[in-house]
Subunit: 425 residues, 2 copies
Amino acid sequence: MKNYVIKGNICYSKTREELCITENGYIVCEGGRCAGVYETLPEEYETLPCYNYEDKIIIPGLVDLHVHAPQYAFRGMGMDLELLDWLNTHTFVEEAKYADLEYAEKAYDIFTEDLKNSATTRACIFGTIHTEATLLLMEKLEETGLKAYVGKVNMDRNSPKYLCEENAEKSVKDTEEWLMKSQRFKNIKPVLTPRFTPSCTDELLERLSGLQKKYQLPVQSHLSENLGEIDWVKELCPGTACYGESYDRYDMFGNNCPTVMAHCVHSPEKEIEMMQRQKVFIAHCPESNANLSSGVAPVKKYLEKDMKVGLGTDIAAGSSLSVLKAMVTAVQCSKLRWRLYDQSVLPLTMEEVFFMATKGGGEFFGKVGSFEEGYELDAVVFDDSKIKHPQTLSVKERLKRLIYLADERNITAKFVDGQVIFREN
Amino acid sequence: MKNYVIKGNICYSKTREELCITENGYIVCEGGRCAGVYETLPEEYETLPCYNYEDKIIIPGLVDLHVHAPQYAFRGMGMDLELLDWLNTHTFVEEAKYADLEYAEKAYDIFTEDLKNSATTRACIFGTIHTEATLLLMEKLEETGLKAYVGKVNMDRNSPKYLCEENAEKSVKDTEEWLMKSQRFKNIKPVLTPRFTPSCTDELLERLSGLQKKYQLPVQSHLSENLGEIDWVKELCPGTACYGESYDRYDMFGNNCPTVMAHCVHSPEKEIEMMQRQKVFIAHCPESNANLSSGVAPVKKYLEKDMKVGLGTDIAAGSSLSVLKAMVTAVQCSKLRWRLYDQSVLPLTMEEVFFMATKGGGEFFGKVGSFEEGYELDAVVFDDSKIKHPQTLSVKERLKRLIYLADERNITAKFVDGQVIFREN
C-alpha cells in the first residue's frame, strides 16, 4: 500500500536555513514518493486512506551517515583513549569476534532491533572484514524494512594478525564474492569500505578502485579524524599533499564515485576544496570526535560552502545510536569550538542540524530526507505528549524540545520509502 | 525501618581516583547510616532484613549541586543565545509565571515527579522570587522523601519589572518570612539564593549576609560563568579584584558560610585561590556551559587542588535532569577543552566524574555520597539487563556503560538517608 495520506504537524527542511512547518497538515504519498504537503487536503486525494496522527509531530526519517554495526556491542565503554590506541585496545579485539557467526548473530540482533526502533530510516554502515557475518547483518537489516548501505571492511596492513586480511588479492576476491551474494537484498545495498588509509596497502586500494568502476559502487571511509592518524598517513603516503589524496589517487574520492568520508575534523584547505569540487559527502560525528578527543569539525564552514554534510553516530566511538542526540551534540560542540578555538566559524543552528540529519545526509541516498515533491517518503511520527509541559507550545517549540528530549519511547510510527516499518494502533 | 542489608554489585568512590567495587556484596544500613560494605555478611547482621538485588548494580545516590526547578518547564528550548540574552529572552519570562500558584502547581508537579524517578537523591535547587511558589515546591519535594536545599531567589536590580523585587528591604523581609515558613519541612532545607551579583544591590547582599549569620544558612549563587557577565560585574563592582569578591565582601563565600557557586568557567587565579582557601563548593555544569556557549571549566585543575567540586544539571540551560548525563558531558567537554584550548589541564576520567557526582557533591550535605562507614545511606539500584549485550561484562564495564546509556527506566530502587523512596517488587 503505497498511496495514502499522513495527517499531523509536519516539519521538514527545504534548505539549511529554511525549516518548513505545516500545522495540522497532510503529506500525500503516491507510489512511495511524496506528492506534496498541504494545509488542506486537495479533493483528488480525499479517497486515499489516511493515517491520522492529529496533534503529533511528523519529520522526515533521520539519516545516520556513519555507524559501525559490530561496535554496538561495546558502546559506552573504553572511552579513555585516542583513536589509534582505541582501535588497537578495544575495537579490533571486538571486531575479530565476528569471525564467529554465532556471536555475530547475537550482536547483530541487538543492533538491528535498536536501529529499527530508533528514528533512523537510512544508514551507511560498516561491518567487519568477515563476508559471512556482513551478509548476516545485511539479512537482518533487510527484514526491518530500513534502507542502508552496508560494507564488508577491507584491511590488509597495520592491523593485528587476527583481524588482517591475507593480502590485497584475497581481500578483493572476498569482496567480490560478498558483492555477488549481496545482490539478493532489495533494501540493503553494498558499499565499498576500505577501513582507512593506514589499514589498506596501495595495491588493495587500486584493486578496490577496479571493483568500484566495474560495479559502479559507492565508497565509505574515514578522513582526517585525529592528529596522530593524519601524521601517520603522511608517513605512509609520502607523495600526497593531503590525506584525501590517498583516496583520490585511486579515484575513490567523489566525482564519479559517490563517496562518504567520516569526520573531516582537521581537513586542510586543499582537502576541503577537493571535497567541495568532487562532491564528497562528509559524515560529521560530533560525539565520537569528543569521546576520542579528536576535536570538532568546522561544520558551519562546510555548510556555507554548500558542501555535502550529514550526521553520523559513529557507534562505538559515539555511545548513542540516536541521530537526535547527534543533532544536539553537533550544536553543543560547534558552540565550544567557537568559544574555545576559532571565532571565525560560527556555531550551528537547530535548523542546520535538522537539515544535516535529514535532507543533508539523505542526499547520499537520492531524493531522501525531505517532504518536498518527488522525495521518497521516509517519515517518523513523534508523540511528545509524555514529555510533560505546563503550558501550550508552538509546533516549532515542540520540535526543538523533542530533539533535545525525545527517544525511541516517543516514536509512534515510522515509514521508509512509503512502507510502514511499524506503527502503534 | 532503618536497619537492613542491601545485596548486589556495589560501586562507590573513596577518593577521586579510587573507585571501589564489591561484587555480590552487602551494604549494611544501621539507623539510616552505612555500617560498612562486606564481601561476606558478618554473622551479627544475618538476622537483618535483606533487599536482595543479586546481579544488579548499586551506586550512591547522585547529587545535583545546581538546578533551577522553575526552568524545567522550558528545558530543551531557546538554546540560541548566550547567558545574559538568554536570561532576558527566555528565563525571566518563564520565572515570572510562578507568581501564579496554579501554574506553579502544574509545573512543579512535573519537575518533582521526574526528579523522584531519576537517580538523583540530593539537590541544591533554585526557586523563583515568589515565596508562596517556593514553599509549594518545597512541599512537593518533601513528599518525595528526597533531600534538598531550596532557595527563594533574591533579585532587586537589573531585572525586568515583572520579576524584580521592590527593594532590598522588601526582598529580605519576604525571605525571612519564607525562612520561618520553611521550618515545617524535614527533608527540605532553605538556602539563601541571591541570583547573581548583577541582580543584587549591595544593600541586598549586605542584608542577606545578616540573615545568613542570624540563621546560619548556606548560600548558593552563580560565579564566573560567561565573559559578558564577568565584564558586567567588573563594572558594577569597581572595588573588587574578582567576581568572587563581590560575594566575599559580604561574607557569603565559604569559610563560616557553606557556599556553592555554579560554573566557575572563567575564574581567575585569585578567585580560584579564594575558593580553595575558603572551601567554596563548585557546581560544574558542563551541558549548560556548552549550550550557552560559556566555555568549559578547568575541572581537573580544581580536583588536583583538592577543591570541593560536584556536578550540576543546571536545568534549563542544561536540557537534562540526569546527573548520569552530566557525568558523560563533563568528560566529553574536558576532552574538547584539552584538545581545542589548553593542553595543560588534562581531561577528566570516569572515576573522577563518578566521584564528583556522588561523594564530591555529597559533601555539601555532610557525610553523603559514599558507602563508607558513617555515611547517610543514599543508594540507587540499576537493572542494566535491558541494555542488551552479546557477552559477559565485568561490573566495572557495566558501570561505565550504564553511565553512558542508562536512564530512569533502568532504576529499580532508590534509598535516601536510609529510607526507601521507591522499589520494584
